[in-house]
């Protein structure tokens, strides 16, 4: 009766081949979700869009970030901030998806199957990074529509997007770890309470210099600020750079921060996953 034995994967080459095969299957599943749930996709993008409308058209006219008067160049300042914020908030989507897969028993099912157990975590990461690239592209088009422009060269602009995805990639590990940590989807939804200050206490919409000293210091050292400032420089948008080290070396900080985040949260996520069997 058991005639359906899967292709053996005892050799190293076979293992690698089948592991990649498993990753592709999980990524394919995620993309089918995107096709199947365009409304969900729209909602996830809805938040940054609403934020940008709010800040650019409601508060923006009162903001003087460039020292040239309220509202001047605010779109140019806020847009890169919004890109960075969307990447920063993205980990809640990851956490939610992981928590849902866990709650629904999907993770248990794949763990009882002869597939690469890393596929759930790594496949999730690849899928979410690709998803984020699609998000960014849509936001980019919206930004162009409301008048934002990149003043940088083609390669600088492309580099800025790479920096954005680099932050999102690092934060996916945080999302996976948190998604496995929380009890259920409801708790995963509450993670937004962490994401919100993480995304907003930064230079995303307001220069840290305009905040009270202690808050400004937190904002200046926030990884999201490093990314926002770095891409402002690459896009050639106004940046309102303060005196702190991460603001002075934004590009370096925007590259190093995600390395640190990955170094901490990748092992945490993998260990949490392995310990599901405890």
């Amino acid at each position: 009766m058991t005639t359906l034995a899967p292709v053996p994967d005892e050799t190293l080459g076979g293992r690698i081949k089948w592991t990649l095969h498993d990753y592709r299957a999980i990524v394919g599943q995620e993309f089918t979700h995107l096709w199947r749930q365009p409304v969900n996709f729209a909602w996830q993008l809805g938040f940054p869009i609403v934020m940008v409308l709010l800040f650019v058209y409601v508060f923006g006219s009162a903001m003087d970030v460039t020292g040239q008067g309220a509202g001047v160049d605010y779109v140019a300042y806020a847009m890169p901030g919004m890109f960075a914020m969307t990447m920063a908030f993205g980990f809640t989507n990851t956490a939610w998806a992981v928590a849902e897969a866990k709650e629904k028993g999907f993770i248990d099912r794949v763990r009882s199957m002869p597939m690469a157990s890393s596929a759930v975590v790594v496949g999730r990461n690849i899928a979410d990074t690709l998803h984020a690239a699609v998000d960014l592209f849509v936001l980019f088009v919206i930004a162009l529509v409301i008048g934002w422009r990149s003043e940088g060269t083609f390669w600088e602009t492309l580099g800025a997007f790479a920096i954005l995805l680099w932050l999102r990639f690092a934060l996916i590990w945080v999302g996976v770890w948190l998604g496995l940590l929380v009890k259920d989807v409801t708790q995963a939804g509450n993670l937004f309470a962490i994401a919100f200050p993480f995304g907003m206490v930064s230079s995303v919409f307001t220069p840290p210099e305009l905040m009270p000293g202690w808050l400004g210091a937190i904002a200046a050292w926030n990884p999201v600020s490093a990314t926002a400032t770095a891409i402002r420089e690459l896009f050639g948008n106004p940046a309102a750079i303060g005196d702190s080290w991460p603001e002075q070396h934004a590009l370096l900080a925007a590259i190093v921060w995600p390395v640190i985040i990955t170094a901490i949260f990748l092992p945490l996520a993998v260990r949490k996953f392995q310990n599901l069997g405890r």
């Binding site: 058991t2 089948w18 095969h21 299957a25 028993g105 199957m113």
Partner: protein, 325 residues
Amino acid sequence: MPTTTVEANNLGKRFKDTAALDGFDLAAEAGTVLGLLGPNGAGKTTTVRILTTLLRFDTGTAAVAGFDVGRDARQVRRRIGLTGQQTAVDDLLTARQNLVLFGKLFRLTKSRARERADQLLAQFGLAEAADRQAKGFSGGMKRRLDLAASMILAPQVLFLDEPTTGLDPAGRREVWDAVSGLAADGTTVVLTTHYLDEADRLCDRIAVIDHGRNLVDDTPAGLKRRMGADRLEIVAADPGDLPVLREIVAALAQGETTTDEGASSVSAPVGEPVAALTAAATAVQDKRLTVADIGLRRPTLDEAFLELIGASPNDTATKKKEDRL
């Protein structure tokens, strides 16, 4: 010569300061259906999670399909299917996409995965719904899709954790038919359930577990036999007749006669059930009494079960709460 496909000896598993399993033994022969029965918190799900390589255990040994669950987890995973308590299908995918996805994750080639999906869709009566999203499915359909997904490699051993919880009678019947069919084809099935009629109907053997320990391991018929003799029962039409009816029953009883005032009934265990029933009916007629009902009652598996765990259902619920604390 029957071979043992699932064998666990002296399994122990602690969660913090509660012992979920405390020296539990289990054995299922190839091609049989083993029911794991017990109150909530007894250790049923823990046992299934251990045998399906999802949970590490502290003490004892466990082997599935001839492979050690701890050491050869990969080999075990190739030979088992699992349907957990939740339906672990992807709601956003169609039935076919779900089965193809799981087929790929079971490492079939794309064309083989598609072929197998078609077979399973037909086998589980889902061919017509194949290209609809699973989120629109009824509970029974989802369960069948879930079962189909765990059957992709035609596993030697299939684990089902409360496969019919939350289903309506039609849905339960659909799942029962599917499980019976699989067992008939030679798959060994280990299932947990709260429903004794389910265990009675599907299982070749029933292992009763409570507080992580074996209470009893027997066939459904054997379990019922442990409950003792058939009972003769007369339900009075007029409660005033109860004393007379009690006399009639007591004269035939082989054991204590009990009167249930609430149900207006008298009953007692009897040795020769048919003779006792005839005698009782004659006696009722002779005395020109009218009764609401007269008959023989076989002990149900529910009674056997409650007697075994030595508690009324309410006590069981209390116990469960204590276990959680």
